[in-house]
Symmetry: C2
């Protein structure tokens, strides 16, 4: 199956979490099968787009029979790497770090919070969901001694690059970066950026272009 997975384009991959979300809701509602037409109406994308995207997964019964919700949900979760769990730490324990640390949906998806860090002495020892905030100087040892898959970076942009270097040297292979700066990491280290300002600017673009037609 791995070879088949490789052929899925990044554009399709980017849409998979949304399919997973809708299929999860259908599962919760007890729906066993759904046609591309019904799914299309729920998701407000064309049925043809859905058929094209989901064709990558095969095995969803014949024409007119619809998709098997449970099967497709499991398949997409597997493709997204959600069939196993990940250990993550958060560096930067301000409001954003705490918000992410408290987000129980991540836990449900298999992302397990193992540590929180900050350089602010006044935060050290505070707890988030039973996880004690440690000083960032403990990072290298903590990463080496615990099997940490993902480091979440919610520090000011001025500190992000230096901390990313420490993370990479300590063996971290994936960084979820909320600092508003592009990180330079070696090949083999995955970075996913959440640049909140960029998202807000897209909104202001759309406001400006709808308000002044």
């Amino acid at each position: 199956m791995q070879e088949q997975d490789k052929e899925i384009s990044q554009a399709v991959i980017g849409r998979l979490p949304r399919y997973l979300r809708y299929l999860g809701e259908l599962k919760d509602e007890g729906v066993e099968r759904i046609s591309s037409q019904e799914l299309s109406e729920r998701m407000k994308v064309t049925a043809s787009q859905i058929r094209q995207d989901l064709n990558h997964f095969g095995g969803f019964g014949q024409q007119g029979y619809g998709y098997n919700v449970e099967f497709l949900y499991a398949e997409i979760a597997r493709i997204l790497g959600l069939d196993h769990s990940y250990h993550y730490i958060i560096i930067g324990s301000g409001n954003l770090g705490k918000a992410l640390g408290n987000y129980l949906n991540f836990e449900r998806r298999g992302f397990l919070l193992k540590g929180m860090f900050d350089r602010n002495e006044s935060l050290i020892g505070e707890e988030v969901r039973g996880i004690k905030i440690r000083h960032i100087r403990e990072l290298p040892e903590f990463i080496r001694e615990n099997k940490i898959d993902i480091a979440v970076l919610t520090v000011p942009k001025e500190e992000a690059k230096a901390i990313a270097s420490v993370l990479v040297e300590s063996g971290i292979k994936a960084i979820w970066n909320f600092a508003h700066v592009d990180l330079n990491v070696p090949a083999g280290v995955q970075v996913e950026n959440v640049h909140l300002s960029d998202s807000l600017m897209k909104l202001s673009y759309n406001i400006s272009n709808s308000a002044n037609p």
Copy 2:
């Protein structure tokens, strides 16, 4: 200029905030002109991509002369609607709402925090940067009495749709949605989603596909 703007594709628009960020850094460094080649090396995208994207803006001097940093920065800011300011409110004053309310970079860009709301009585009256947290029952009146452009939604997904309806009825034209649900809003209301789980799943996809080649 408005007609010219319209022709810029969403893909280019999506890349503009990153250009703005790099041009802002160049401005801060006192750089007046930069060639597409130099910008390409900094931004790690091809010079040809940069030339194509920035061709939409014209007016950056002749071949071999490079881009005028100040001019291009101002042009891109204008296209993104950053040449005027916006009033925004935050609904959901937990850790994420507080993190966004405290983010001074938004203020520098012209996004001015005017109100914070929650339904949790124990938060009412608390202050974030001098802004008192109010009960969400005050939303309609507050929106009508203050010129609010953007509502930031950081509430649980179960509450998001109902609150979005109240916002739309009260005249809100733009929602920055952090709730993990798609909102149904009338045409003319802009929604920009930040689905954090989706971003985390892209990371787990990339981890899985690099770890098991």
